[in-house]
């Protein structure tokens, strides 16, 4: 019986039948009516409404890149304001009209920019762009499956994300502007249209867009989980899976369990905004008018928001961790150090991610005793994080490291994760947090540990798997320039912010010149702005490299260019829908047999030899 699924007929050229073999399920349900005819690939079915996980991954990636440019540009704009307050840039007025009257960024525009920068980068780039891309691309390829469990829902997942993007983009072009109450959209500001122009239609669109985004991430996450559980190829036991897959698995679990809570919170917020309910509102006076809302609790929204918001941090970070583990091991030609410890720490981080949300709320009126429990749980995260850092460093230790751009970005990730993680210990203590809350210190902390670090993980992943995605290499010279400028630039931008924060400078302020105590670092701010413009320019260079290399990059000729063990390199150079031409290979060992018994690498598909040593 098995042979009819994996053997005999599978050598045909038309892969769509081969997919039917493995994925009868999907096709039984969705293609019942026309299962007799051959599927003819049209442009639309191949590149737009494609059900091939690899195409969907690329769609996520390219949409993510576009969003990253938009979100990055926003940060450059508000950095201009922070570095050169009061100075006029007439070109801004040319582009943004009333939002930058007289060439100066207006307060409403400034808040819209920081809100959209956060929303776009956190959700659209580092959630959809990162785990959307690599979960889609790597899960079927690395576990040995022809496609996702449900290719159709997988396609819907991208299109819901697309729809969410369209709604969010459209909110940028309405007269009252996009949401501008911060990416955390705390009520009462976000709940009351009369409170600010950014709390009007823009806020409704923000909520609608996020609701669509939650649907997208749910469809994706359910697919990732059931694919990893159900569709592993023969011999691919859970503990033989590459750490990338484990990380993406836990990411999906985090998303499936925490995004719905945000959805609930946002539905209640929508009610407060449009139906006059009082879930989050109480005792409010706006413009001298006493509002009728009574009995709600603004802290409740923060609880609901951070019940997602904190796991969200790990939704962003875990895929990067997984890819870095894989890339470091492949490129130092050494097995990953402490595979089971890595796995255990991923699991521990996943659990703890759900238990620590209120450490974002120490100064909001949270019960101090409850806060102290959250301090304890928060500091526990240091343990698995330290294990992971230790294991990455020991994987590199005495390895034959190949400094490809991917390796450099992976090492950069580890560096940033350490630097940013250490300041997390400061902020996790409620006593210190009372001083540092809402200062630039927080901005420095989360940008380094989560924002930039995950971007580095994403870059590492793109440089490493680009040959598999497009059959060509990215240009390495541009890659090295990209890495060094971004690495040094990131530290130059964010390191000084720690000092600003310790000196008490609050985040989100439009213009600090009005406060003697906050106006100590104008030159530093200028420097940060200049560096961020340079770093942004280098990212544009990467984007150029990316699109140029898709069409003109050096062609890949070796199906396994990095000499890696994992299954994706056993597929043809440019795999079609269905991934493997013949049978799906069987797996006989874990993914990290590098430098074993004098051999540089032993692919997972190779049976255990008779005299092979144990690892």
């Amino acid at each position: 019986m098995k042979s009819s699924f994996h053997g005999t007929e599978a050598k045909q050229k038309n892969m769509s039948e081969a997919i039917n073999v493995q994925h009868g399920a999907a096709h039984v349900e969705h293609h019942d009516a026309h299962s007799h005819g051959h599927h003819k690939e049209t442009f639309v079915s191949k590149y737009i409404f494609s059900m091939d996980h690899k195409t969907i991954a690329k769609q996520f990636l390219i949409t993510g890149i576009i969003w990253a440019i938009v979100g990055g540009l926003f940060s450059v704009l508000f950095r201009l304001q922070l570095g050169y307050p009061g100075q006029s840039f007439p070109i801004l007025e040319t582009f943004f009209g009333n939002w930058a009257k007289g060439g100066q960024i207006q307060p409403e525009f400034y808040y819209a920019l920081i809100t959209m920068h956060g929303t776009v980068l956190v959700f659209f780039v580092l959630t959809a762009g990162l785990s959307g891309t690599f979960a889609n691309f790597l899960i079927p390829l690395q576990i040995g499956a022809r496609d996702m469990a449900s290719p159709f829902l997988n396609m819907l997942s991208y299109w819901f994300f697309f729809l969410a993007s369209v709604v969010m983009i459209s909110s940028l072009f309405i007269s009252t502007g996009p949401a501008s109450g911060g990416w955390t959209v705390y009520p009462p500001l976000s709940a009351l249209g009369q409170a600010s122009s950014g709390s009007k239609l823009g806020m409704d669109l923000w909520i609608v867009s996020m609701a669509l985004f939650v649907v997208s991430s749910l469809l994706g996450g359910l697919n990732y989980i059931s694919t990893i559980l159900n569709l592993r190829t023969k011999g691919m036991s859970m503990t033989r899976m590459p750490l990338t897959i484990w990380a993406l698995f836990f990411t999906a679990v985090l998303g499936v369990l925490s995004f719905p809570v945000l959805l609930s919170g946002l539905i209640l917020l929508l009610f407060d905004r449009n139906l006059g309910t009082s879930f989050y509102l109480s005792d409010i006076v706006v413009n001298g008018e006493i509002l009728a809302n009574e009995g709600g609790s603004a802290i409740l929204f923060q609880h609901l928001f951070w019940f997602l918001g904190h796991p969200e941090v790990y939704i962003i970070l875990l895929p990067a961790m997984g890819m870095v583990s894989e890339i470091l091991s492949v490129n130092s030609r050494k097995p990953i150090f402490g595979y089971m410890a890595m796995l255990g720490s991923l699991f521990a981080i996943t659990i703890l991610a759900f238990l620590v949300w209120a450490h974002h709320m120490f100064v909001t009126g949270l019960n101090p005793f409850l806060g102290s429990i959250f301090v304890l749980l928060t500091l526990l995260i240091a343990v698995p994080s330290a294990i992971k850092v230790f294991n990455w460093l020991t994987t590199l230790w005495r390895g034959n490291i190949r400094f490809t751009p991917a390796t450099l970005f992976a090492i950069g990730f580890v560096s940033l994760f350490i630097s940013g993680g250490l300041t997390g210990i400061f902020l996790g203590n409620s006593t210190i947090d009372i001083h540092l809350h809402d200062t630039m210190f927080v901005v420095a902390h989360f940008h380094i540990v989560m924002g930039v670090a995950s971007m580095f993980g994403m870059f590492a992943g793109i440089y490493h798997w680009f040959p598999k995605m497009f059959g060509r290499y990215l240009n390495s010279t541009l890659g090295y320039i990209h890495f060094w400028v971004t690495m040094i630039g990131s530290y130059l931008i964010f390191w000084p912010m720690h000092y600003q924060g310790l000196a008490g400078i609050p985040r989100r302020y439009l213009d600090k010149r009005g406060w003697v105590s906050f106006n100590d670092f104008p030159e530093l701010d200028k420097m940060i702005t200049i560096v961020s413009i340079i770093v942004f320019a280098v990212q544009l260079m990467f984007v150029f490299n990316f699109f140029y290399s898709i069409f003109k990059g050096r062609k890949v000729t070796n199906p396994n260019p990095w000499g890696a063990n994992t299954l994706e390199w056993t597929t043809p150079l440019r795999p079609g829908h269905g991934n493997w031409d013949g049978e799906i290979p069987e797996v006989h060992r874990w993914a990290y047999d590098y430098g074993k018994d004098g051999r540089e690498f032993i692919p997972q598909t190779e049976p255990i030899g008779e005299n092979e040593s144990k690892h």
Binding site: I225, L229, R232, P260, G295
Partner: protein, 294 residues
């Protein structure tokens, strides 16, 4: 292959098969329901959080005491128990539909799906009646020194404390609107003053005030507003699930009738729809607990 002999010593996790022996669709449905449980959980837990942040919360027995056709009779929890039984029974018929599907019994599936759909529609009907009753059933409430008639809505809650200070109530009658006074004088007349509505409408406010028996009118303060918001929000969200469940069941029924599953050889889709339907029942168990019982 379909023997249980293979169970022994099966290496469930070694790849090439489902570790849970479940096809992906059912697995996805289970995890979707898990996710949905967190949506409902978040709603109910925020309800709990708000409730604990209030000094006063209405007694559900006082709020939910009406029954269709029973007029003003005080029947606490009677109607909601009918609704609960409807949902439990429709869950049972769904189990039987799934079971018929296991046996490939198309007629059985159709029969039990019909009953399930009817159960779902009956539940939605009950909910519509209950909402209608709560929204339109207005109660006398002391607001800012005057008495108003308000219903249970998203923004108003007539279920506060009973006002026991009769002098304050009598004073409040002076500023109360004519319409409300007519209503009060009609419903709660002092002994020997009962007359028809038409007669009352012609009287002046001062006359009417003298006729209202405030001590027995059960006039309350305004209650916590969030009560209504959460009640309509959560039962509405649950009702939406019931509604979509009914739609799914209707689609399943049509597909069964068109022999889609018979041709496919299995009724797994019915099983998945069944999981969803039971989940709706499961959520109701908790909604019932949080809003009606405690």
């Amino acid at each position: 292959m379909a023997t249980t002999g293979t169970v022994h010593q099966t290496k469930w996790w070694s790849g090439g098969k489902s570790p849970f022996n479940l096809e992906y669709g059912k697995l996805m449905m289970w995890y979707f329901l898990m996710s949905d449980a967190f949506t409902f959980g978040a709603f109910l837990i925020s309800y709990g959080s708000i409730r604990f942040s209030q000094n006063f919360w209405p007694d559900p027995n006082v709020v939910f005491n009406a029954f269709p056709g029973a007029g003003h009779a005080n029947l606490p929890l009677a109607f909601v128990s009918v609704m609960t039984f409807i949902l439990i029974v429709s869950s049972v018929t769904m189990v039987l539909a799934v079971h018929a599907g296991h046996k490939g019994d198309k007629k059985g599936v159709i029969k039990w799906m019909w009953w399930t759909i009817l159960g779902g529609l009956a539940f939605l009907g009950c909910q519509a009646w209950e909402w209608h009753h709560l929204i339109t059933g207005e109660h006398a409430v002391l607001v800012d020194g005057k008495i108003e008639m308000i219903g249970q809505t998203m923004t108003g809650n007539p279920w506060g404390n009973i006002v026991e200070d009769n002098t304050a109530l009598t004073a409040a009658l002076n500023t109360t609107s004519h319409e409300t006074l007519v209503h009060l004088a009609h419903e709660f007349p002092k002994e020997g003053t009962a007359t028809s509505i038409e007669a009352l409408e012609k009287m002046s406010n001062a006359q009417l005030s003298g006729m209202v028996d405030v001590a027995h009118a059960h006039i309350r303060e305004k209650g916590p507003v969030a009560f209504g918001g959460y009640f309509y929000g959560i039962t509405g969200f649950h009702g939406f699930h019931v509604f979509s469940g009914v739609i799914i069941n209707i689609v399943m029924l049509i597909m069964t009738q068109k022999n889609v599953f018979a041709n496919r050889g299995h009724y797994l889709m019915i099983e998945k729809a069944g999981l969803y339907w039971h989940f709706v029942d499961l959520v109701w168990v908790f909604v019932f607990l949080c809003f009606y019982l405690i």
